[in-house]
Subunit: 413 residues, 2 copies
């Protein structure tokens, strides 16, 4: 099945928002093995919308529209699609009741404008909108199908998952099974080590990189009841063997803070942080995860030298001799945070995030990450590239990875 996505909205052409709707739908269609050959964006203009719809339907079996279902006069997607197929718009009672209830729950009164949102092309399959007022619909005619979705991402995603995905899954009869492996290493390193695996054909291997880490995706197309394991398992095992401890997790939504949180929970350990240039970002990455209270009691943000001394017990002589951005200071910060918090582990970060404050000896991007556990403390030196946000992001990821590697060897229950 060949599909196109047609997004409607002047806000997209003005660049006020990125077309994340098309991205989301494409990701999900790809998981169903449905090929997307084109994304098109037009403004709230009936002429251009109608022309784009006709062109898309001349090339593709299936067109998904997003946007243009609002209550205002500009919102004309349903009207244009119905006219294209020569269908009347008829009022849907269930949608009308939903719109009235939804407005009431939001403490509003349904306006005449909202009435228009309950109109549906005759004979179409209605997709309820659990997060908003405008329903979507699926129109099947002359071997062509058009699915009409709302523009706001929170409405679109829920409607897609509840109504359109099951519809498409039934229709396509096959699905792309993907596995995601998360690796704490740069893309070029991972690429070099997995080079020969890119040429297997089945399964396919693709890499996605973000600051300090790389995700490998293994994919294979399967019938609905087919088991992908015989194809995926051997290649996954080979990647795991080559990557060793650098491979930290699996699954589309896995991330480093969540893995660290899980390891801390499993091993009944607690962590504390002492942050300078990251200013709370490291602790916040952990607290972002639900359930952090099991492994985390407290943390210190010590930006000034005086605070490093008073709150963490960093030796004034260390600061005088080596400065706050130094291996010795990072080590003492971690030791101090561990001793004061009574946590099993402590991590510290001190560095020069920029844009100012760099010198030839201590350039922007120089960061020391300290680590303390019951056996002692040490600190590692890093020189990160990029702007203030890049340096801070690389710092917290490397700190979390240091803790992860320590936890993997922490079998002393």
């Amino acid at each position: 099945m060949v599909c196109e996505i047609l997004s409607v909205g002047t806000e997209l052409l003005m660049g006020q928002v990125a077309n994340t709707d098309a991205q989301y739908i494409s990701q999900r269609l790809s998981a169903l093995g449905i090929s997307v050959y084109r994304h098109t964006v037009v403004g709230d203009n009936v002429g251009r919308l109608d022309e784009a719809l006709a062109t898309a339907l001349s090339r593709s079996d299936f067109v998904i529209t997003t946007g243009g279902l609002g209550p205002t006069e500009d919102d004309l997607t349903k009207e244009t699609v119905a006219a294209h197929f020569g269908l009347k718009l008829i009022q849907d009672e269930a949608s009308l009741i939903h719109i009235r209830d939804f407005a009431e729950r939001a403490g509003k009164v349904m306006t005449d404008n909202n009435l228009k949102q309950a109109l549906i092309p005759e004979g179409s399959i209605i997709m309820p909108n659990l997060n908003g007022t405008a329903p979507g619909c699926i129109i099947e005619k002359d071997d062509k199908t058009v699915a009409v979705l709302p523009g706001p991402p929170s409405e679109l995603k829920v409607m897609f998952e509840n109504s359109l995905y099951p519809y498409l899954q039934k229709k396509s009869g096959q699905t792309l099974i993907s596995r995601y492996l998360h690796i704490f290493a740069g893309e070029s390193i991972v690429e070099t080590q997995l080079m020969d695996l890119f040429h297997l054909g089945t399964p396919t291997l693709a890499l996605y990189c973000s600051t300090a880490e790389t995700t490998a995706r293994l994919s294979v197309m399967c019938g609905m009841d087919e088991d992908p394991s015989p194809v995926l398992d051997p290649v996954e095992n080979e990647i795991r063997r080559r990557m060793g401890d650098a491979l930290y997790g699996e699954g589309l939504t896995e991330n480093l803070p969540h893995v660290v949180l899980s390891l801390l929970k499993e091993r009944h350990r607690k962590v504390s942080f002492a942050e300078s240039c990251t200013g709370g970002m490291l602790a916040s990455a952990l607290v972002d995860q639900p359930g952090a209270s099991d492994v985390f009691d407290e943390s210190y943000i010590t930006y000034s030298n005086e605070a490093k001394q008073r709150l963490l017990g960093v030796n004034p002589a260390t600061l005088a001799r080596y400065g706050a951005v130094s291996r010795a200071c990072a080590q003492e910060m971690a030791q101090g945070a561990r001793a004061r918090s009574n946590a099993d582990y402590a991590l510290s970060v001190t560095g020069i995030a920029g844009p100012d404050g760099g010198t030839p000896e201590k350039p922007v991007g120089l960061v020391y990450i300290g680590f303390a556990d019951k056996n002692g403390a040490f600190a590692n030196e890093f020189l990160f590239k990029g702007d203030r946000t890049d340096v801070r992001t690389a710092s917290i990821k490397n700190a979390l990875n240091l803790l992860r590697l320590a936890l993997l060897n922490d079998n002393d229950r």
Copy 2:
């Protein structure tokens, strides 16, 4: 001038990335008063790219392509554009030297694949790539213009600003002047209060909302040497009058943490934080800003009750009677942070960010924000909607706004 954006890349059709290139270019073209009528995305497929290019040029004077300039065999944008216009590709010596130097600086050797990136359609204007290897180019032929840009956003933005924007500015002879006013209030409140100003025609008024705040944009189209002030000033002044202290800043890139940092600097004040459910996010928002060390020495993350007592001096009786998520606890947290840090101001956050931990009496989204200064302390109650990230984001913005309002009245130098 009517423009279309044609993006090339299978990764876009797979949903691996959102089309932020099209968004960026659209924003910038809008600032020049150039209308964008269409975005199109096609994969790395010469047939579909060629067809999309021909169709775009049949409708529009100006087509900007993004992507497909890499060194691999899949990257065929320049080849396809050159073929469309019947132009030969010729090697550009300056680009070749740049590619070799760029590879060497990155510690790599230029490969044969890179040689292809130095090929340019004959007679085109070359746009150097300061952040990568592939140059872009502008081809003018038969009243049509095609600008070819690279796909990676870091390369595209710099090339656009240095080469394409000045070219287009000269060509269009006019520019859209916009002013951005940032308001700490929800969209519906702002919309209601500014209702009549939406119908002025000139200047145009548009609202953009994000968590807890709204940005109003005033725009007018001007000739290159025209002064927009007589049109914009009266409406801006009226918005300022109606919004009062809720209006916190101006300019496209202004944000609340930066405004708070500036006010703290101006008034020579320091702040400290005591965070529970935000876990360092509030301090990190301030430290995100360069120059935070002038106004910020230290901060406390107290997640457990025991840490709230030991680090901030919260009374055990308060915790026993009211719980950690309470007005009394928030107030004592702020008082404790102020006293211990010796800062002029302290803010505290304690709440239930979810998804777990809510009860009928204390539901998910219940947050207390405490405030302390030399005159005393208080705490405000909030009930925020949304997921864990929404609740935490709304918490830090409301905390920063509380501090901002206090600083506006802090004239006691």
